[in-house]
């Protein structure tokens, strides 16, 4: 079972009386891109928060990269190679693009402990190179990102996670607030992840995008995983009928 990157068993989260997530069984294979879809409040974000350890789960087990894990937060998850782009961005508004991309793993020119001299040129060049590869257009990299549009900021956040991620990247509605052009840029970044063989979990309401980008689609409904659909064997209408509860797979586990 070495090609299973992430696996959950009976993952459950209750907020008091709210059963946001119930007994979720889930598997993600090496290199696989999976989408999670479902109505508002279906439990998608809750699922993501349990995996990355933002919240502590009520019940269930998680395996990541061959061992059972219990992350204490996004930093812990990151150190194991799991990256998450949250609905609210984790960027430093007063820093420019290279500083944000390299925050916490700066390139050093000369090591002096906390007073190490930064290699600003190298970080800027790498940023330019990386953004060019993904097709993200940002007019001036040296401006604080505060002055950028929501879409540009989102692109920076995603590019940042994409370059950090080594084993898995999770994105919760990365294009929800973006225009057409910016959505296309984010989708480009996602395709480069596929080329690099990095697995992805993408939470999205955009069914066109989901069918375009991923291999497999997991449907959440009222805190339960109700379907696992191969991209080639489904279409928009099919997915919608699972989301709305018209159809249901009676398998308890979401993996095929």
């Amino acid at each position: 079972m070495t090609d299973i990157v992430l696996k959950t068993e009976g993952l459950t989260k209750h907020y008091g009386g709210v059963h946001a997530l119930n007994d979720a069984n889930f598997e993600l294979r090496a290199g696989e891109h999976i989408a999670i879809v479902g109505d508002n409040g279906a439990g998608k974000s809750t699922f993501v928060r349990q995996i990355t350890g933002v919240e502590s789960r009520t019940k269930g087990k998680i395996w990541f990269d061959g061992r059972e894990v219990s992350f204490t937060g996004p930093l812990d998850a990151r150190e194991s190679g799991m990256e998450c782009v949250f609905q609210n961005l984790a960027l430093a508004d007063d820093l420019d693009v290279p500083s944000n991309l390299f925050l916490g793993r700066e390139i050093i020119r000369f090591n002096l402990g906390p007073f190490s001299i930064l290699n600003r040129k190298a970080m800027r060049a790498a940023t330019e190179e990386g953004l060019k590869r993904t097709g993200v257009k940002i007019p001036n990299l040296d401006n604080p990102i505060r002055n950028m549009s929501g879409g540009q900021r989102q692109c920076v956040a995603i590019a940042r996670s994409a370059s950090f991620a080594s084993k898995l990247i999770i994105m919760d509605e990365p294009t929800a607030a973006l225009g057409v052009q910016e959505t296309a840029q984010v989708e480009n970044i996602i395709r480069t992840l596929k080329d690099r063989g990095i697995p992805l979990i993408l939470v999205s309401h955009n069914l066109r995008q989901v069918i375009d980008l991923v291999d497999r689609i997991i449907v959440f409904r009222r805190g339960h995983i109700v379907a696992s659909l191969n991209k080639d064997e489904t279409d928009g209408n099919d997915i919608v009928s699972y989301i709305t509860g018209v159809k249901s797979q009676n398998t308890a586990t979401a993996s095929i």
């Binding site: 937060g73 996004p74 930093l75 990151r78 150190e79 961005l89 984790a90 960027l91 430093a92 508004d93 007063d94 820093l95 500083s99 925050l103 916490g104 793993r105 700066e106 050093i108 002096l112 906390p114 007073f115 190490s116 001299i117 930064l118 600003r120 257009k137 007019p139 001036n140 040296d142 401006n143 505060r146 002055n147 950028m148 549009s149 879409g151 540009q152 225009g179 052009q181 910016e182």
Partner: protein, 365 residues
């Protein structure tokens, strides 16, 4: 990305320091005009019996005053950049001055035992490095306590440093039961009153008494470089800008905060050493209200009280503005009481300006 946004995003924003510098020029000009109107001059020498183009005495007072509080403001700037505040620096100056001065005393004054002696003769006539190290240790110790309280107990910086402000002032008074400590060694007095500039330039550039200014410039340059070119600076801005993002990025936020507050404490200690060397005495009331002057200098210099923005260069210009305004009021013979009132208004005004800048930025962003 709308078409309307593109041009602004493309042009690199004008550095805010430039605006502050223009404000400095403008304010200086206003005082020059006010002085001219009264028949004198703010900057220039109008007396026939004194040589020189500039009003040497006034300029010297401005830069000396600015230098000592300015050294504190360098530390305060870094604290504010990480989103904190330091109300204790003035009291740290007081406590540090008292403690380090007692290690700088001479045993004999005009052949008689030192009338202000704190310790016995075995702790007198010590090499100058002793009071310097003792002073810096005091400042760092106080700063460490500030930092540890703020980073690990989640007490708001305002409260933690307010506590330190009261306690350190208590230490300053308790140390010698409120008595001033005087009669330092010559080498200690020379720290501020000597002529380092003349010494390293073999007398080409005499600068008797300008050592505090040199120290201020050196420390300002050092920390400006650190903030711009090192990991330390990057982390300061990141933490002030978005502490959560910094933490998720793997920055040890708590440890960095402790470091910044300790640095601020050490800078307050530098100011204390300079001050009591210059005055040749230490009093428990030294440095009262300096913390507010230092904060005002930083805020006038464009350091945002909400963190993440500002620079040492800005603070240095802010300090000059502060100095020009204060001595400007003296030059037009405004009464000292009015000066204090105006000083209060400047501090509040600087904060209002900061919030206005933020609101404008929010509207633009």
């Amino acid at each position: 990305m709308t078409a309307a946004m593109a041009p602004r995003a493309q042009s690199r924003a004008r550095p805010p320091e430039l605006n502050i510098f223009l404000a400095l020029v403008l304010i200086t000009l206003v005082f020059e005009l006010l002085n001219r109107w009264q028949g004198g001059s703010f900057l220039f020498n109008t007396r026939d019996n004194v040589p020189g183009l500039f009003n040497q005495a006034r300029l010297q007072i401005i830069i000396l005053q600015v230098s000592i509080t300015g050294i504190i403001a360098i530390g305060v700037t870094q604290v504010i950049i990480i989103g904190g505040i330091d109300l204790s620096s003035g009291s740290i100056v007081g406590a540090t001055a008292m403690i380090s001065m007692s290690f700088a005393q001479v045993a004999l004054v005009n052949g008689n035992p030192n009338p202000k002696a704190i310790f016995g003769p075995e702790l007198m006539d010590l090499p100058v490095i002793v009071p310097i190290l003792v002073g810096l240790a005091c400042g760092i110790f106080a700063g460490l306590i500030n930092g540890l309280l703020i980073a690990y107990t989640k007490i708001p910086p305002f409260i933690a440093t307010l506590g330190m402000m009261v306690s350190a002032r208590g230490v300053a008074k308790w140390w010698s039961n409120g008595n001033p400590i005087s009669f330092p060694t010559d080498s200690f007095g020379a720290l501020s009153n000597g002529d380092f500039l003349g010494w390293i330039t073999f007398g080409a550039l005499p600068g008797q008494g300008l050592n505090p200014v040199l120290l201020f410039i050196a420390l300002a340059a050092l920390f400006q470089l650190a903030l711009t070119y090192t990991l330390y600076g990057k982390r300061c801005y990141a933490i002030g800008s978005n502490e959560e993002a910094a933490r998720i990025s793997g920055i040890n936020v708590a440890r960095h905060k402790v470091l910044v507050y300790a640095i601020a404490g050490s800078l307050a200690a530098f100011a204390a050493l300079v001050l009591c060397s210059k005055n040749l005495t230490a009093q428990s009331g030294m440095g009262v209200m300096y913390e507010l002057d230092a904060i005002a200098m930083a805020v006038i210099g464009g350091v945002s009280l909400s963190g993440g923005r500002g620079s040492i260069i800005g603070t240095v210009i802010g300090a000059l503005i502060f100095g020009v305004i204060i001595s400007g009021f003296t030059s037009i013979r405004l009464d000292a009481y009015y000066q204090e009132m105006v000083k209060g208004a400047i501090i509040v005004g600087a904060v209002v300006l900061d919030q206005w800048r933020q609101r404008r930025r929010a509207l633009e962003g």
